[in-house]
Symmetry: C2
Subunit: 452 residues, 2 copies
């Protein structure tokens, strides 16, 4: 492993970058840091259209905002790409209480329904709670879960340096916990929030019923409440929980990806994007207002600095990443239909934090080429090209053979805000956001200049 | 420049690290992330002893806390190192108002006296304001500043990627603005706060009268207020300002560095530290509670993990970094007097943010050796050894030939909090703090194992 890292690092730094590239990248950073617009764009988007869940009025408003915004910046083309999206709504205020053994009063706890969940009956669900920490434990408990509320308390592993790795190891509980519990007759599932923070915020996120024949309500509980609940259960006394959620899945709605582009001599495309939809409970500042405004800012920097691209450079604000991915699917479908050749696809959907590098999902030769550019980006703190993966919205382009990349910002704080009411503008540092925009603009510039 | 970076990077990665080192570093990170104590220590320090300016009761309390804390952790030795420190106090609430031409009401603005400043007369100072943006402009204005309040509005250059570089380019105004303005008969100096953020917080910090024969009051104004004031002045109408500060320099007080150590077979020392004092207006969480608790945590990790050091590993919580550096001076003086050989000195005084590397002030051969360890630290996001410099508290060891290092965390948010009331525990992310502690512990482990 160490030998591999050493060899890998040796390999990276064999590129002699031109000083012209170095100057242009410096210009990109200077413009982004000095008179960047990313934070202004994010302020507009999050203040006017918080809670942009697919199918909502806020999402429709955000589409209009993004279209007009890009129009006003004078890009070569700005257009909408229609797609049908799911329309899930949370409904009225959710309620939950935990009743320790023999207690009638109960303690209010913070929950939020998971995206896609059915609601509880209107009188709520009251049942004994059974804690499991893994699918193994859940399956072992089996039919003993019948008539119970399953408390899926899988803790994210804090020893991962990347919080995304910790998330990846735990999020199955949120995605498939209800499906697994329902087969044993459980009445509902309450999932520990997907965060490494210890706080009172419930974190929503998408779930699936998979092949479940019985759809049971699924919601998230804050990590502090989860720890308290676990402690009570450990004491050995029965604990009862009351849950009431009011969510609902309405018919699909028409919505749009919003696309802006600057054109070069070649019609081949380099696409860079984020997703315009967000969860309903926050302003979607980090997730993924940041990626949206960085995409717009990338194009604006090209235009402002007079960088004439060789190819078509596209900023795409995808719709419906959070609970369906219909925008990403539609984009790939249209690219195929129109026979658009994509040289590269880049996503920013990991928060507006200080950039550290780009992850990759690409053939070896492409990776080598990209790594040879590190000396140009290292002075800006962009050094890490070791992570795997593109992003959810560009993933559908993979089968067309498009190399995929995703901006890797510092991940430590992402899950402090992710899918919560705390994902607000004030959680974003303007300089960190701007550095991300400059990083993607520089990366797009290098791909445009040298190809892949 | 690019060629240099490429060569430098190539050079770094020629080390074949042992897998034993790799395992121990993984253990250090696992312990720091899983059951780390740094954030708990920081919570204790900042809640019990906020505003630990040298000579204050809070500083004395912090000394006691640090001593007892390290004692309770069972280090081999814990002791105090006496030093006399300056004792500057802010006094009662400060006041400032800006009066636009012909206005009698005025607009309240947020100021704070700079550390070391004299107070205004008890009735305050009311005078016309003259704006300068540099020492050049100040000197050109010359005697026209007589009887005026000088508004030193030097903006930190946002195009630097490292905010410390931006700070370095502007902080002269805070340090020497009063000295420069006083020679032309100015009555006071109001300095733009040292931050890249646009907000309402005045940032204090140390200033010096140098060779000034007349000591005039010096204070900082928030960047928002500075921008407003500048706009008013640009409009061409005279602007008057009222200032009232109540600060005072009292006789020196007795205080202490707090030292804990774990001993190995060799008496040679590896010292790692932060500073225990902080400005009076905040809790000193990032500056430099973070460095203090990382130093304690570094020793605790050695002890907990049963890593037996070869050398004496020392955690030093220095007193008086902010306005005098007496603790750092005393430490070096005692090292010389006791003929202690120091192999390396490491400081953490750049905030409790995600670590990215270490800066160095050391001979070439030492730098080469350190860089050869990068493959071991790269997986933890510690990759940047290109920055110059040690830190203020260890700087006095330089003339004893000690190689100096400083932890380089991501710098983007540091000056959002620096020397303000916002430097509180909640501005610190527990994981970022823990990663910094693990980084310094790993670095100390490598120095202890391989020497320098």
């Amino acid at each position: 492993m160490l030998r591999n890292i050493t060899l890998f690092l040796l390999m990276i730094f064999s590129f002699e970058a031109s000083s012209q590239d170095s100057l242009i990248i410096r210009k990109i950073y200077t413009a982004a840091l000095n008179e960047g617009q990313a934070y202004t764009f994010l302020s507009e988007l999050t203040s006017r259209y918080p809670g942009r869940l697919s199918g909502s009025k806020a999402a429709a408003g955000a589409v209009e905002w993004a279209y007009e915004r890009m129009k006003s910046l004078g890009f070569d083309t700005v257009y909408l790409q229609e797609c049908m999206v799911p329309h899930w709504v949370r409904g009225n205020a959710e309620e939950a209480k935990v009743f320790a053994a023999n207690s009638k009063t109960g303690k209010k706890v913070n929950i939020c329904a998971l995206g896609g969940s059915v609601a509880t009956p209107s009188k709520g669900i009251t049942a004994d709670v059974v804690e499991v920490k893994s699918f193994d434990e859940l399956n072992k408990a089996g039919r003993s879960l019948n008539g119970k509320i399953v408390f899926f308390n899988q803790v994210m592993d804090p020893t991962h340096v990347s919080t995304f790795d910790a998330y990846g190891g735990a999020v199955g509980a949120r995605w498939a916990g209800a499906e697994a519990a329902s087969q044993y007759g459980a009445l509902a599932v309450v999932v520990r929030s997907m965060t490494l923070a210890h706080d009172d915020l419930p974190h929503t996120g998408v779930m699936s019923y998979g092949k479940a024949t019985q759809k049971i309500p699924a919601c998230a509980i804050s990590t502090n409440d989860a720890d308290d609940l676990s402690k009570q259960l450990k004491a050995g006394n029965p604990v009862t929980m009351f849950l009431k959620t009011n969510c609902e899945t309405l018919p699909d709605e028409k919505s749009y990806n919003v696309i802006g582009e600057m054109r070069g001599d070649s019609k081949d495309v380099i696409v860079m994007g984020g997703h315009l939809d967000s969860w309903d409970n926050g302003a979607g500042a980090h997730d993924d207002g940041a990626g949206c405004v960085q995409s717009i800012e990338m194009l604006r920097l090209f235009k402002t600095l007079g960088i004439k691209p060789k190819h078509t450079i596209r900023a795409v604000l995808f719709m419906n990443e959070e609970n369906g991915g219909r925008g990403g699917d539609k984009y790939a479908e249209e690219a195929l239909r129109k026979k658009e050749k994509h040289i590269a696809a880049i996503e920013s959907d990991a928060g507006g934090f200080s950039p550290r590098g780009f992850s990759m999902d690409a053939p070896v030769a492409v990776r080598e080429k990209v790594k040879s550019w590190v000396p140009l980006l290292f002075p800006y703190g962009v050094y890490d090209f070791t992570r795997e993966g593109g992003g959810a919205d560009i993933e559908p382009l993979k089968e067309q053979g498009v190399p995929l990349f995703e901006l890797s910002p510092d991940s430590q704080r992402y899950f402090d805000f992710h899918h919560t009411s705390a994902d607000q503008l004030n959680a974003v540092n303007p300089r960190e956001l701007a550095l991300g925009a400059a990083a993607v603009a520089s990366f797009v510039y290098l791909i445009d200049t040298y190809g892949l």
